[in-house]
Symmetry: C2
Amino acid sequence: MSAPAIVNLAEKLASFSDHWNPRIIGRYNGNEIRVAKIEGEFTWHSHAETDELFMVVSGELGIEFRDGIRRFGPGEFVVVPRGTEHKPFAETECHILMLDREGEPNTGVNPSDYTREKLETI
Amino acid sequence: MSAPAIVNLAEKLASFSDHWNPRIIGRYNGNEIRVAKIEGEFTWHSHAETDELFMVVSGELGIEFRDGIRRFGPGEFVVVPRGTEHKPFAETECHILMLDREGEPNTGVNPSDYTREKLETI
């Protein structure tokens, strides 16, 4: 088998500009590695069958949980356990890396105007 | 459920200094999120039942595959598919983030002097 591809986060993030529209940049053990640019407030949602990892590449990520708000900077991550309601937000543009089970909707079990039916692989 | 913990990569990496001894810093969908400091050459190995993700936090990571060498810098990652032989190396100290299936030995199916029987969670 030939050597697997090198993936550069900055290059992937430079290839699109819209917000709340994650792109798939890799696959690992039945999960998708995604990047997204976010700004403003997302909608409350949870994922029934997958944990969700958020890692900040640049900017500041906020996540509201039912018991309060947490803020994350570059080099920090959080794993939101399946079933945990959360609402991501960013006061200024923030770039994030995510892990989700393959095919998981970005709004989990709570469809909204932010739901993306099919994510693009870049 | 209370809000999940924020994990800071630099803080976790600052808490140990030995090489080729990954620490577990999180769990996601049956996988372990690990960090390690590496320098020098590891041993050839493969993982039968898990893909393995390497992401560079600082320094330069080299991985030798049977068809050649690839080099990775900060903000770059690679997913080594299960069954793919590889040999990581670093000419100077390099800090990496990894994903592996829970309990996967660091040397996969090829035990060596570098095998760590049980990884510490920090």
